[in-house]
Amino acid sequence: MLRLPWFDYRAPRTVAEAAKILAGEGPQAMLIAGGTDLLPNMKRRHQTPKVLVSLKAVDGLKKVNGTLGAGLTLAELLKIEGIPTALRQAAAQVATPHLRNAGTLGGNLCLDTRCTYYNQNYEWRQAIDFCLKKDGDTCWVATASKRCVAVSSTDTAPALIVLNAEIKLESTGGDRWIPVEALYKNDGIDYLSRKPDEILTEVKIPGGWKSAYWKLRRRGSFDFPILGVAVALKFSGKAIEDARVALGAAASRPFLVEKAGNYLKGKELTDEVIAEASALIANRAKPMDNTDMDLYWRKEVADDFAAYALKELRGDDMRETRLRIARHAV
């Protein structure tokens, strides 16, 4: 089997202790929560941290009062009553049941960006002389690109972005709260604004939004998104009072589609409005050929997926479509 590289393992009991270890070890240390992303990556030598700082035994990372602890597994998250619809729909479609039992909310938010030239064994990457993201000089997706275009593949981030959620980052230097969208940078290598010594500990989600998340992927389970559409709306009667739309798996970061949000404000969800908003959303989806399925097709169906989310929020019965796309009730 593929073996992990050697590493030291630390198991602090408190966030403060974990932060202290991180500060002391510097960038050669990495946090591990569920390990569902990190450990396979370590086996493939994407990351070879000298020290793993486990968050498993850290107190308080599973809290559910007011804010959500970043250490909640996705399966635990799904058992919490009243979590916003988009987050539930996103979490329910991450990976497989086994992986949701281990993978955490914080881990999904910090998920490494993905690319078909990157998510491969060391030996495979050696055969292509490596790539820009790790150990090489060329981006094989776009050979002229100076920037790594690996794809943000987190499902929960677009959902939390439209919900206007914030996250708490803690370090020995203090705590800070930032909007979820501010966690991300559009760079496949340096994709998080989190500093190496910061720990993502909590997620705060304001209420009042009606939300939905639609995930495009080839199969009903296991696969990362090749498009994620999240929409959150506030209604005043039938009219939209506030609107937030975000896309996932369409760039190196999940991002807000402000144009679409602005367009929707003050409107009612008529078929025409949905079509226009969907086109605005799809216009921002500029996928690269570095994930599953045909590139042009992914671009072509983006507006359909945006429309599914909007129709669901209008109150259309989308269960059959959901079943067709997700292959299970979400």
Binding site: R3, N119, W124, Q126, R219, D292, M293, W297, E300, R324
Partner: protein, 818 residues
């Protein structure tokens, strides 16, 4: 067909039962090769080439050999003798000096643990001289140099052949319609749950024991003796219970040779377990095949002739390729009456992992083309596709144009069954836009008529040992790969002896203690092992009957073996089976018997007629239902109906499992599986790599993507088969892919002439349709392939003798007619 005791109903055969190895599997007690561990065991890792095509100029192992914990480093120099599953394709070295694909092993490290071996791999210095790469068959045809192998037809053509059964051009010229289509079937891999593992050690008697996840311990045994240059009698191969094979564990493999050699050199147990990526490199899966079919049809829907051309992407080694090449054509005439048939096939070498046998071995590709073409024919002739097929199914015991004996067939019943169950007549062509039904049929062999190496020996042997305890031990070289062969063996022995399978212990797949069976491939085990088992069990039953008859003072032939008892119909009390064995043991001494089986001699006598014949053929018909979203091309498959002519069902639970498993694999191939490769921009790189050698990114259906499958087992006992039971392991896969494609046509009126069928292809075809262009996605042409002059054979129907007719003789005959 074996006749059970007169008057006795079948008691074990046909009853749904828990399989004999089921408990061990579900409790985790079963020990797969990678579960094996021995004291002082060392671990092996292979250094694999990062180059797709290169000469290994130098391997410097000093640093690796000196690494703490390393016991041995092996290179090509340690293996002067090549191997290969087929005698005509002995082209592999356990560690190569000429790399044919990324992942080809060039050196091995044996160390105290896997991690140390892995670390030491990186200390081996290899100097490669990269060569130009060949990425597909067209490039192989265009570039005879550099040659990937020094043998083969010429250049990078491995095999090239042509057969003509009756004058096909003449028949096509006289046909009312000639349909010409080009299809492409993408390559895909077996994806067994268990990654290959092998443990080699020297037993106490000094003999080499190799325990391996192999489907064919007998062939591995022979190849080990060849490579290691030691007598077969000093080697024992145990086929560990396989966690799936599907053909991927048929070839003897590099890693098996390497650990065997290392164990001999070091005198210590040496184990290797492949990573999932390495399994993709070992591969031997479905060949990508481009094919062209020119088919003549009468206006009332009868086939007149077919000219089939195939072009195979063989990958870097021969593997089973010579057989695969034949299989892209030879079974085509078995399903429907086809008076004349011309078949040309060419297999090329390319710098990719070798292709070989995967479930259906070479036949799913042409079957896909033929069944899709039939759908087009039905549409053109305005006939119902089911009626078209029913009007031309082959007749039982007829000979095909290429001299295969069809034997028993219930294909017509299979078609009627799925038509009825799916409410085809009410729904085909009658559903709303976006909903569709598609039908397709297929056939498969029940065991290859000839062994892989030429010999006149039995294909399967079974030995039975009974003793006074009442237990029955059955020995056979057949290999349990998850298909249920141990259960088949126990079922047959138990049925003949009138006992419960719980009394039967199966000892299988061990060349040290079991009679030879050629292996778990070509759907041969139930038929060949089964017939051998019937023979052995009947011989034992005769001994028991003699002893009991003497005691009861009745005729031996009048005794009934049933429900653990032996009795005379006049006195149902009888005696227990255990007492019967005791009587026999006291009368004859130790009780045992052997049975063996060789398939019947095939009728064809031309060179090449050895591939295709089988003691019997199974038949399947399938209806697939689809929903297609015309806006996105998104495909859903809510239900599949399949009817399989199984001859007789031995254990319905297992048989249905095999059918559903075959449907699963077929649907997965139809919708997503691709053993695809990626060549980087040539100006920047010479890389030619597998696109996605991981279980996450190589897409196959998950449980959520799998529809309900309605299975009908059609029973029409075949006289050549044990209790009439035909194969079920491979056939039910075959009709699924074309049925899906045909259903998509019914749903939205577009033709996808290649698989996998993905939403983007459907959407592209729909766009073509909306522009008024031909609504088809598929290969646009078939290249010019330098096929040889055909071997010409007159068909049975036209009075042939099964031999080749030379061209001159044919001309003379034609002249005489004029």
């Amino acid at each position: 067909m074996n006749a059970p005791t007169p008057g006795k109903k079948l008691e074990v055969v046909g009853k749904p039962r828990r399989r004999v190895d089921g408990r061990a599997k579900v409790t985790g007690a079963l020990r797969f090769a990678d579960d094996l561990s021995l004291p002082r065991m060392l671990h092996c890792k292979l250094l694999r080439s990062p180059h797709p095509h290169a000469i290994v100029e130098q391997v410097n192992v000093e640093r690796a050999a000196a690494h703490p914990g390393v016991y041995l480093v092996l290179t090509n120099k340690d293996f002067p003798v090549p191997f290969g599953i087929m005698p005509v394709a002995v082209d592999e070295y356990p560690l190569t000096a000429h790399v044919r694909h990324v992942g080809d092993p060039v050196a091995a490290v044996i160390a105290v643990d896997e991690q140390t071996a892995d670390d030491a791999l990186r200390l081996i210095e290899v100097r490669y001289r990269p060569l130009k790469t060949i990425s597909d068959p067209i490039e192989a045809l265009d570039n005879p140099e550099p040659r990937i192998h020094e043998y083969g037809e010429r250049g990078n053509i491995h095999r090239n052949q042509s057969y003509e059964f009756g004058d096909v051009d003449e028949a096509l010229a006289k046909s009312d319609h000639v349909f010409e289509d080009v299809f492409f079937y993408q390559g895909n891999t077996h994806l067994p749950m268990e990654q290959q593992a092998t443990l080699a050690n020297l037993e106490g008697d000094g003999k080499l024991l190799v325990s391996s996840s192999t489907q064919n311990p007998h062939y591995l045994h022979r190849q080990l003796a060849r490579v290691l240059q030691i007598p077969e009698a000093r080697i024992r191969v145990i086929a560990s219970p396989n966690g799936g094979g599907f053909g991927g564990k048929c070839d003897p493999a590099n890693h098996e040779m390497v650990v065997a050699k290392a164990a001999l050199v070091l005198g210590r147990p040496v184990k290797i377990g492949l990573t999932r990526e390495e399994v993709f490199y070992q591969h031997r899966g479905r060949h990508p095949v481009l094919m062209k079919m020119r088919t003549g049809v009468t206006k009332d829907g009868k086939l007149t002739a077919m000219h089939l051309q195939t072009l195979l992407d063989g990958g870097g080694y021969g593997s089973h390729g010579p057989a695969s090449t034949f299989y892209t054509g030879v079974l085509t005439p078995v399903t429907y009456e086809l008076p004349r048939f011309k078949f040309e096939a060419c297999r090329t070498f390319t710098n990719k992992p070798a292709c070989g046998p995967k479930r259906g071995h070479g036949t799913p590709q042409p079957r896909f083309g033929q069944e899709v073409q039939l759908d087009k024919i039905a549409e053109k002739l305005k006939m119902d596709p089911a009626e078209l097929r029913l009007g031309m199914v082959t007749k039982a015991n007829s000979l095909t144009a290429n001299w295969l004996n069809v034997g028993s067939t219930a294909l017509d019943q299979c078609i009627r069954e799925v038509v009825s169950r799916s409410k085809w007549k009410d729904r085909y062509r009658k559903q709303q836009y976006g909903r569709g039904l598609g039908l397709a049929c297929s056939t498969y062999m029940c065991g290859a008529g000839l062994p892989i190496y030429w010999n006149k020996l039995p294909h399967s042997g079974v030995q039975l040992l009974l003793d006074r305890s009442g237990q029955v031990t059955v020995y056979c070289g057949a290999t349990e790969i998850g298909q249920g062969s141990d259960d088949v063996l126990a079922t047959i022995v138990a049925e003949v002896l009138g006992i419960d399978t719980g009394l039967v212990r199966c000892v299988t797949g061990d060349t040290g203690i079991t009679p030879v069976d050629l292996g778990s491939y070509s759907s041969r085990v139930t038929i060949m092992m089964g017939n051998a088992a019937v023979q052995a069990a009947e011989r034992v039953r005769a001994q028991l009957a003699d002893a009991v008859a003497e005691k009861l003072e009745v005729l031996p032939g009048s005794l009934v073996f049933s429900r653990g008892k032996v009795f005379h119909p006049g006195n149902a009390d009888g005696i227990s089976f255990r007492e019967a064995v005791e009587m026999a043991e006291s009368k004859f001494g130790t009780i045992g018997a052997v049975g063996s089986y060789s398939p019947p001699k095939p009728p064809g006598r031309y060179k090449g007629s050895g591939v295709g014949p089988s003691p019997a053929y199974s038949f399947s018909a399938c209806v697939v239902e689809v929903g297609v979203d015309p806006k996105t091309g998104w495909i859903e498959v809510p239900k599949i109906w399949i009817a399989h002519d199984i001859g007789r069902t031995l254990n319905p639970v297992l048989a249905r499992g095999q059918v559903i498993g075959g449907v699963y694999m077929g649907l997965s191939e139809a919708l997503m599986e691709e053993q695809a490769f990626r060549r980087l921009p040539e100006k920047l790189s010479s890389a030619l790599v597998h696109k996605m050698p991981s279980m996450l990114e190589y897409k196959s259906l998950t449980a959520l993507d799998m529809p309900e499958v309605d299975v009908a087992l059609i029973e029409d006992p075949d006289p050549n088969c044990p209790f009439g039971a035909k194969e079920v392991g491979q056939g039910p896969l075959l009709p699924v892919m074309p049925a899906l494609v045909n259903a998509i046509f019914d749903a939205v009126g577009v033709r996808i002439d290649e698989i996998p069928v993905t939403p983007d292809k459907v959407l592209r075809a729909l766009e073509l349709k909306s522009k008024g262009l031909a609504p088809r996605v598929g290969p646009d042409h078939f290249p010019s392939v330098p096929y040889p002059e055909p071997v010409y054979v007159i068909t049975p129907e036209e009075g042939g003798d099964g031999k080749e007719t030379k061209k001159e003789a044919r001309k003379r005959a034609a002249a005489a007619v004029v």
